[in-house]
């Protein structure tokens, strides 16, 4: 479903070109559970941003669901993000002035979904994530775990095919972190491709495919041979 071929990304830092990604080749199928690990500055977040269409490769081709999304314009990229990609962030990124329910509703509002349907979906999501009694609370009235549950509910509200999680447990304690991982893993069972960027080997080690990155390259992949999709 996700196919990156020869994707590079370099940044201009001062008068120097710094390569954040070098010739990345990566295929991810629907329902894949992938973790990306590596030291800081190895390019894992850049890779995630590229997959999430928040950033563009300097060279190479990115195909999503068979279509080439490398050179889409802003409007088209936004549409793809809205329909196919969900984000979960380390710092939750909830809008502070909006209630939990409103935060979950946000992608639906942006996509122009009729209010009645929006309400139905939000109610269902609140229920699924055990947030029904927190619906009217603002983010600052929620615990970290609850905030991340709101964020996950928001990320899944448009039924994305890909869920990108950047250090989803980074701001949580062990127990709530585990809860959050469990929630994300449930989505994999629903055939969502889950990509988790993490420092934490305990989190990354749970993934069926574990990518290791160093200096903008994927150096090592665990689990892929077992699945036999290396040359896809």
């Amino acid at each position: 479903m996700i196919a990156l071929s020869k994707v590079s990304r370099s940044f201009q830092v001062g008068d120097q070109q710094v390569a954040a990604l070098r010739d990345i080749k990566l295929n991810i199928a629907a329902g894949d559970y992938v973790s990306i690990m590596g030291p800081s500055g190895s390019g894992k977040s850049t890779l995630l941003n590229l997959i999430g269409l928040l950033d563009r490769p300097s060279s190479g081709i990115y195909r999503l669901d068979g279509g080439n999304v490398t050179d889409l314009d802003d409007q088209q990229q936004a549409k793809v993000r809205s329909e196919k990609i969900g984000f979960v962030f380390q710092s939750f990124h909830l809008v502070p002035r909006l209630s939990a329910a409103m935060n979950i509703e946000l992608p639906l509002i942006l996509a122009g979904i009729p209010p009645a349907e929006r309400r139905a979906r939000v109610t269902e999501l609140l229920e699924n994530y055990g947030l029904t009694d927190r619906a009217d609370h603002r983010p600052d009235q929620l615990s970290g775990g609850q905030r991340q549950r709101v964020a996950i509910a928001r990320a899944t509200s448009m039924h994305p095919a890909v869920l990108l999680a950047d250090e989803p447990t980074g701001n949580l304690d062990q127990t709530t972190g585990k809860e959050v991982i469990n929630l994300l893993e449930k989505l994999v069972e629903q055939n969502v491709a889950l990509i988790v960027v993490t420092h934490d080997p305990a989190v990354g080690g749970r993934a069926r495919r574990q990518l290791h990155m160093v200096d903008g390259k994927i150096t090592d992949e665990l689990g892929s041979r077992l699945r036999g999709n290396d040359d896809q």
Binding site: N49, D55, A78, S82, P96, L110
Partner: protein, 402 residues
């Protein structure tokens, strides 16, 4: 994204920073209110003057003796000359002009009026029956001066309403005799109350036939001749005719001054309108300032909400939509500000109207329209830049809060 959702989202973010929003609305509304109030004041002054003039009579031409263009010292006065008098016959001669509808000669003086034990000082006007129509006066009781020979000095008088009240209290006074100076006059009518017009309180005057006034004050000249032209377009012709007739009658010497009410009125009208525009313009500057404030506030909002903008982009909002959201916020802000300003302005106008009932203060429609367009215009104009800036943010950097 649906229109209503855009508005709701913008309203929610305005509610999110309540103090800032309220202050912005205050600035905007003060701007709009000052435009409304100041132009209403200017317009009120203009209307006041126009009303005063038209209460004098319409299509009016005023002739007075002496060759002074305005009230001032003529060259003749410096030489100790007294301008030639305007006579009653001069006045009657004006009726030869086809452009002149009617004339009313005017003599003025003050005298003691007494009835039984009551007496007071009054302004006495000597005129003819035509005066009623020329000056647009109306009668409360009885009748005005009788028509007929202008040279006949009948001993009849018409009282201003306040004079009647003071002399006769509950009685009508019609048919009674009053004493003016050394002569006795029979009261034949009472003017209806009209209040002050051009500094002349018609409620406190007594009108007698012009010939009687000449005898009473022992004069023969006229203070003014009021001329009513047949139509508004005929004013110039009437003025020309009047000058010509009087010059002929005065052995070819142009020694009268003819003033058209229209010319005076037009001058006042111009001056006051310019004043209104100037004052309104100054107030409009405060609106522009409010616009710059909106821009500033929106720019702050953009930098404070960088992360939120990044999030919206990640959630699938294209740049155009982000622009729309910030744009909507600014428009909402200036819209609410304008409406609040209009309400504030109207309250101010009402308050001034209550304080100075004589002044017809009404905000002219063009000023209200201009105030609203300026405030909305500046709001929209000054939100373009912040909105574009928000939309251009790079989502990755924005999410990181940079």
């Amino acid at each position: 994204m649906k229109f209503i959702d855009v508005v709701q989202f913008a309203a929610a973010s305005l509610r999110g920073s309540r103090t800032r929003t309220l202050l912005m609305i205050l600035a905007m509304s003060i701007g709009v209110a000052s435009v409304v109030v100041l132009t209403a004041l200017g317009e009120g002054a203009r209307r006041y003057v126009v009303n005063q003039f038209s209460s004098l009579g319409t299509n009016l031409i005023i002739i007075f003796p002496g060759r002074t263009e305005t009230a001032g010292i003529g060259p003749g006065m410096l030489l100790g000359q007294i301008p030639r008098e305007l006579s009653l016959d001069d006045a009657q001669a004006l009726l030869r002009s086809p452009a002149i509808a009617r004339i009313a000669p005017l003599t003025i003086g003050t005298s003691q009026i007494s009835q039984n034990a009551l007496n007071r000082e009054v302004v006495v006007l000597g005129s003819t029956s035509e005066m009623l129509k020329v000056r647009h006066m109306s009668m409360a009781l009885g009748q005005f001066l009788p028509a007929g020979d202008v040279h006949s000095s009948e001993s009849v008088c018409v009282l201003g309403s306040k004079i009647r009240r003071e002399l006769f209290a509950q009685e009508s006074g019609i048919g009674s005799w009053v004493r003016l100076g050394d002569r006795r006059f029979r009261v034949i009518g009472v003017l209806s109350s009209q209040g002050v017009s051009m500094g002349f309180n018609t409620d406190e005057i007594v009108i007698i036939p012009v010939a009687s006034a000449h005898m009473l004050f022992n004069t023969s000249g006229l203070f003014r001749i009021l001329v009513e032209a047949k139509s508004r377009d005929g004013i110039a012709a009437a003025k020309h005719d009047a000058e010509q007739i009087l010059t002929e009658r005065h052995q070819g010497e142009r020694d009268v001054t003819v003033v058209t009410q229209d010319a005076v009125l037009a001058t006042f009208d111009r001056i006051l309108r310019a004043l209104t525009l100037a004052v309104g313009g100054i107030a409009a500057i405060s609106l522009a300032v409010a616009g710059v404030l909106i821009m500033n506030v929106m720019l702050i909002a953009v930098s404070q909400r960088v992360k939120e903008i990044g999030l919206l982009k990640a959630l699938g909002a294209p740049a155009a939509q982000i622009r729309k959201l910030f744009f909507a916020e600014a428009v909402l802000l200036s819209g609410i500000g304008s409406v609040a300003g209009l309400i504030l302005g109207e309250i101010g106008v009402l308050a001034i109207g209550k304080l100075y009932p004589a002044l017809p203060v009404i905000a002219p429609w063009w000023a209200v329209l201009a105030a609203i367009t300026t405030s909305l215009g500046t709001g929209i104009l000054f939100s373009v830049w912040p909105a574009r800036r928000a939309a251009r943010l790079d989502p990755v950097r924005a999410l990181a809060g940079r």
